[in-house]
Subunit: 347 residues, 2 copies
DNA sequence: ATTGACTACCAAAACGTTTTGGATTATTAT
DNA sequence: ATAATAATCCAAAACGTTTTGGTAGTCAAT
């Protein structure tokens, strides 16, 4: 039935083969390839040539065992069901992978729904089997068992955002609070007074910050807070869609809606479209994230752009320093998001 | 500066610790935990309890070295620059990861632009260091060095789609050729005679198949082939956008446009929108893939849906059988895509 | 001639498992 | 009572590296 091309794999060539081939000790071969100074230049060249010729590459398992390090970092994508829909993660993962590779690390990926046993299992398996040397955390919760657990185990990690309390770990945070304030001010400057906010579940740090920023903006503009203009989404398009419908049905619907992320905002746009509400003209919509997709909504979405790719790269740099025990230049970075004004908030 | 919470990690607990704690040999501990029959039920329980109590988890490096297997599969995302924009990959990766975990494997991810030295490097590093036990391939080229190379090394792999010639490896293919024919027929049944096709670069197998299906459809409907209605995209939104603009500018513009994937089709929709062309009324647009995003274009996109998530899972099942040397039930699977008719092709 | 410093190499230990091939004791069949 | 069988357990080897703590040789300075 199935062709027998996948027979036994040809036994891999080991360092011993190289050594034998050159009449050298495996020590010398190892040190030659690792670039130690105590091997003659001529020998080093012979070793390099032989290694290439024989196709020798060190066994990662053996190396990991001896070095007590895997040169792998892990990242668990917060998924909801059979997919992770947020383009945020595509970009984030690209950044993690690219930087990791450039520092001779690899990236291990898993998906898990936040705060489930499955999530705990992934992390604890990775950590206690020492399969990964460190992990990247994102979409933090106010009380996040992950941060506590990792601190407790003294296991290296770096986070995007942060938890509720004091942050005794390296992180890169985008100051979404002041970003949202800026956004509210911008909407107010366009004449909006009934500005709604569709947030995320309260347990997420980003919700605390963005909601606070929203409130700050209202205060700054002397707009009274109206609880009926605040809805809870779930950071998905569907969540935004549902929440928007409810807002439209309210006695005093908003003239502007801010989504906690671009996906939510896109859901709002779709809900508006379904009702025949013209976004950008009858209703202003804005999001948060500024991934590429936000350019391609109809109309293009006003949003707060955060540098996802670069942040991911920097997190990996921080994490690998941590793993290697190198000193961190900066361990707690706070960046400002950039307000990108597009047609969805009108002219 | 940086708090000293990441000091030395507490030395991990090894199998030796467990053995000493119970006055047993490490052999027995190992075999008890692995569920061998030659250990007394009572002893097995004691071992299990002690392992849990002490928090023992086998070192993956040591286990991999001894077993000569990593229990890791690899997947290289074909990225173009700083991100992979296609939601296809989000879903694909979720499928890979979920199935892998359920079989006690992990998923290693990297990104690389197709046919670059970087791509070669990733694969050869993974393979020759035996960091992964097998790889999943996707978006195949007609002449694909990857398949040849892996066959040559007798390294396990499974592919989504296939290469140009004979396929001496396990794969799951979606019959996109007949899918496209079906789509063309549907458009013809709506009265369209000028049906354009925006393809992918010729080197991709999917382009050969989908283009052939397009031609089949024209023939079946007695529509003469018109080279001016065929454009080359690059499977991105931007590519679809550009190609559509060119088609609009042609002397005899099409009344329907098929994109080689949903992303391309979405680019077409955007280009149409920019020109004030009403999609679904003045122009029919259709895509291929049927990822969730296709429901959320404006208007929703007619497309050929392939079961991305399930395919990914099945590929992993096949790959792991291969790795373990188990017989494959099915090794070459061909599925039919499902035509999903939505508003973008009008009523 | 002796010492010291330097260069180029290497044997052996260690990393933490799994697996092989028994060894020991208890049980059953003769 | 003895032999055969079954039930448990274990010592030691092996997986392929890196690292430690050297050794032997050369050269220069005393």
């Amino acid at each position: 039935m199935y062709p027998k091309r996948f027979g036994k794999m040809t036994m891999a060539v080991t360092i011993r083969d190289v050594a034998k081939h050159l009449n050298l000790s495996i020590t010398t071969v190892s040190r030659a390839l690792d670039g130690y100074e105590d091997v003659a230049p001529e020998t080093r060249e012979r070793v390099r040539a032989a290694a290439r010729e024989l196709g020798y590459v060190p066994s990662s398992a053996a190396r990991n065992l001896r070095r007590q390090r895997a040169n792998i970092i892990g990242y668990v994508i917060p998924a909801s069901g059979t997919r992770f829909t947020d383009p945020f993660f595509s970009e984030f993962i690209s950044g993690l992978g690219d930087q990791a590779v450039s520092q001779d690390f690899d990236l291990l990926i898993s998906t898990a729904t936040p705060d489930t046993p499955a999530e705990q299992q992934v992390y604890s398996r990775w950590i206690s089997s020492r399969l990964v040397d460190g992990v990247i955390l994102s979409r933090m919760r106010l009380e996040d068992w992950r941060a506590n657990h990792l601190l407790d185990k003294k296991f290296p990690f770096a986070v995007h955002g942060r938890t509720g309390g004091q942050a005794d770990y390296p992180f890169i945070e985008i100051d979404s609070r002041s970003g949202l304030t800026q956004l509210v001010k911008h909407l107010a400057s366009l004449g909006h007074r009934r500005i709604a906010y569709i947030g995320a579940p309260a347990k997420f740090t980003l919700q605390r910050d963005r909601f606070a920023g929203y409130c700050d903006g209202l205060i700054a503009e002397n707009i009274p807070f109206d609880a009926s203009l605040v809805a809870e989404g779930d950071l998905t398009r569907a969540g935004g869609f549902r929440a928007a419908q409810a807002l439209f049905d309210a006695p005093h619907p908003p003239t502007a809606i801010i989504g906690a992320n671009d996906l939510t905002a896109d859901g709002v746009i779709r809900a508006a479209h379904k009702r025949g509400i013209v976004v950008g003209r009858e209703l202003a919509v804005a999001g948060y994230d500024g991934t590429e997709e936000s350019e391609h909504t109809q109309p293009p979405l006003t949003t707060l752009r955060q540098p996802v790719y670069e942040t991911a790269r920097n997190l990996v740099i921080m994490l690998i320093s941590l793993i290697k025990g190198d000193p961190l230049l900066q361990s707690q970075i706070i960046l400002q998001p950039e307000l990108v004004i597009r047609e969805s908030t009108g002219r």
